[in-house]
């Protein structure tokens, strides 16, 4: 029987990749952030997931504005990372799980989520950095992935309510999937930050706290705000909280407990967070 072990959530700030490449994890600036990860690695080491369903957003590696899907589901055998243009190392490739991808796609479309499907899909730092943080120093990733990309770039963005519903439809697919696999759901990005405009550097600890406190038990609380209001509260890129909301939806009505949480301001321009919600008993 397929087992859903819980959710792992983390920021995916590119500078984290730079810090890893330079071995700066224990420097005073970085340590408070990296200290969030040993408990997450321990959890993953205990649960040994086989597959990760990853909700993330592309930053102009795979998708350009010529074709910008609102929701895109990968259905590839392999997903490669590539040069993003500003100096991060090119990260290892990921193995896919096409059978599960198509099962998710079929379930989503049957649930009236008419997603874009991708048999070729580059994945950017929003995929690679959470994996580098969770499984450092492995020769190959110990899990296969199903990437689900949400447009957080070009407005109109899907509403938080719609993203939660998307996640819940993914949960229907996971709970009806016949396998012996253990599945972890991953949501990447956030928390509050804004890179562009005179408001660059905007951070909102109060809103971040609200999100961290409600994600497990009351995710619908995060869907009351319009996208415009979320941008106002979380910053233009803080809207990546949509990935967390969708990932939370994919955990369905699983009884969850907070295994570990870390929140630190700032990493680069961002309020950085990591969180594990595990299946309770």
């Amino acid at each position: 029987m397929t087992e859903l072990i819980g959710g792992y959530f983390t920021s995916h700030v590119p500078a984290i990749g730079g810090a890893i490449a330079k071995g700066m994890q224990n420097e005073p600036y970085w340590k408070p952030f990296f200290d969030g990860f040993p408990p997450i690695r321990k959890w993953l080491g205990e649960k040994k997931p086989d597959v990760a369903i990853v909700f993330y957003n592309d930053h102009g590696l795979n998708f350009f504005l010529d074709k910008m899907p609102t929701f895109a589901v990968g259905a590839a055998h392999e997903y490669r990372n590539a040069d993003e243009g500003w100096g991060l190392p090119v990260y290892k490739s990921f193995r896919g799980d096409p059978a599960l991808s198509w099962h998710i796609i079929e379930t989503l479309v049957a649930s009236e989520f008419d997603v874009t499907t991708c048999q070729e899909m580059l994945v950017d730092h929003a995929m690679s950095i959470p994996f580098e943080l969770a499984w450092p120093d492995v020769a190959e990733w110990p899990v296969r992935i199903v990437p689900i990309a949400i447009n957080t770039v070009q407005h109109p963005l899907p509403s938080a309510k719609r993203c939660l519903a998307l996640g819940r439809a993914v949960n229907k697919a996971l709970t009806s999937w016949k396998s012996d696999d253990r599945i972890v759901v991953i949501g990447t990005g956030g928390l509050s930050h804004q890179l562009d405009g005179p408001r660059a550097g905007f951070i909102n600890k109060e809103y971040d706290r609200f999100c961290l406190d409600n994600l497990a038990a009351n995710p619908d609380a995060l869907t009351k705000d319009s996208i415009l209001r979320i941008v106002e509260l979380a910053g233009t890129q803080g809207v990546e909280i949509l990935n967390w909301i969708a990932a939370r939806g994919a955990l369905g009505d699983l009884a969850l407990k907070k295994r570990t949480e870390n929140y630190h301001v700032p990493i680069s321009n961002t309020a950085a967070a990591s969180l594990v919600l595990e299946r309770a008993a």
């Binding site: 350009f64 243009g85 890179l195 562009d196 660059a200 415009l228 301001v265």
Partner: protein, 128 residues
């Protein structure tokens, strides 16, 4: 105010102070500039831009406003001309600027002060 307000024309299109929502209007305005920046995923193209900025911008049919903003490394100008920060970051990378440098440029602060502002937000009210 509903999310739909973001798609209406006029002032309601950009209701958050200091913030340009990357709407359809902006995406259309910025297409050429963002297309050029997207090309910088390829190292060969980054080099081609460095070797001949004028010619490279012409190849992508930048508007005069976009061309001026790029020539002057005017980040707010590029955003006003429809540039999206995710794509502009690739151009900033060519110039050796990270997002904190870009933040400083946009807020009129020194990089030192911009970083200090971020650190101060971490300390405010203690670690939450």
């Amino acid at each position: 105010m509903g999310a739909s307000a973001a798609t209406k024309q006029g002032a309601a299109d950009q209701p958050i102070p200091g913030t340009t929502l990357f709407t359809g209007t902006m995406a259309e305005r910025g297409y050429a500039l963002n297309a050029m920046c997207y090309s910088f995923n390829d190292a060969k193209n980054r080099q081609a831009f460095i070797d001949d900025e004028e010619g490279y911008c012409a190849r992508f049919h930048l508007t005069p406003g976009q061309r001026r903003a790029v020539a002057e490394k005017d980040v707010l100008g590029m955003i006003a001309e429809g540039g999206n920060i995710y794509y502009l970051a690739k151009l900033a990378g060519i110039w050796g600027l990270n997002v904190q440098d870009v933040g400083a440029l946009q807020t009129g602060m020194s990089v030192y002060d911009f970083k200090a502002m971020l650190l101060a937000q971490g300390k405010e009210g203690g670690k939450s």
